[in-house]
């Protein structure tokens, strides 16, 4: 068994080297401004996997105690926020976290998020590893631009 694994090792290393710098990229990351004393916030962004599937496992940021993936589910007549374990990203299928859907929730915000400011955030992926980015804080009611469907 060990010999077989060793045979594969150079291939894996070559593959890893070839894909260095690839993996998942994050774009258009923004948060909404909060009231000054707010303890929760939300981050939205788009994830694009270059050429292999990956999973977003966790998120960290210095501006909050915790950052978690949450989705909104309907339960018993109410909208309910439900933590998501991991977010799978497949090549060719970018995922956009947007208001009203799955989003990164910031909990234990150390201070309110002011419109016009920015803060750092790190996404921890299973394959790609850590992806660092800067999150722009937009207006409290900021909504994503409407998507343009190019399908005929």
């Amino acid at each position: 068994m060990r010999n077989h694994l060793l045979c594969f090792l150079p291939m894996l290393l070559a593959a890893a080297a070839a894909h260095a710098g690839d993996g998942v990229t994050a774009s258009d990351a923004y948060a909404r401004a909060t009231a000054p004393g707010a303890r929760t916030g939300a981050v939205y962004l788009t994830l694009t996997a270059a050429d292999r599937p990956d999973r977003l496992l966790s998120v960290t940021t210095p501006v909050a105690d915790r950052a978690e993936l949450h989705e909104i589910m309907q339960m018993e007549g109410m909208s309910h926020m439900h933590p998501v374990d991991a977010l799978a990203v497949a090549p060719g299928k970018p995922i956009t976290l947007a208001p009203g859907g799955t989003h990164i929730m910031l909990m234990g915000l150390h201070q309110g998020l002011a419109e016009g400011s920015a803060f750092p955030l790190v996404l921890h992926f299973e394959q790609t590893g850590d992806v660092s980015l800067s999150v722009a804080v937009r207006a409290a009611g900021a909504m994503p631009a409407p998507a343009h469907d190019h399908h005929p």
Partner: protein
Amino acid sequence: MSTVRRRLLIGGLAAAGSASIMVPLSDLWWPGRPVPDPVPWRQVTARFDLVNQAGRRTTDRDFAGQLLLVYFGYTFCPDMCPTALSVMAAAMDELGEPLAGRVQPILITVDPVRDTPAVLAGYVGLFHPRLIGLSGTPAQIARTAAHFHVHYRKVPAADSADYLMDHTGFIFLIGENRKIIRVFGQFSAPDDVADAVRRQLTPEPAP
């Protein structure tokens, strides 16, 4: 079901629901339970007796002659409430004057313990200058929400005091007679809300 598809499903159902006065919630809201009758929002006459963000007693009678856009939410809400309030704000801006002056957007908190008038004062202005926030005692809020058939419950956080709230997330368009005209889901387009207001405020053209 993939996350994206689930979102589209919820969004599609909410959009479909928002297109009718009687939202067919039975399919959406009660998985595994006997299907109840649709929530009788037609029978609701909007009433509230609460306190606004300036600490002043505010009732439905304070807005005579105006339509009301009412949303039940809370300031700790990181995603859904800013989304709904943003829809309301965009609808107000889309209407423009003088029609916007005939509509009063209102946030009623489902979390009166944390959302005191002072907290609401620092929050509503983030969305629209005309948006007012109403709070009250837990009993007053409970009575008001029950009257609107709005449900809410506290969701404790695992390792902190920062709880979240589950809550019914609809935007109510209420007529001058205080009857609920339309119920909008949070995925509603501001244009749809503005159109509904316009139809209510603009007299029918003569045949």
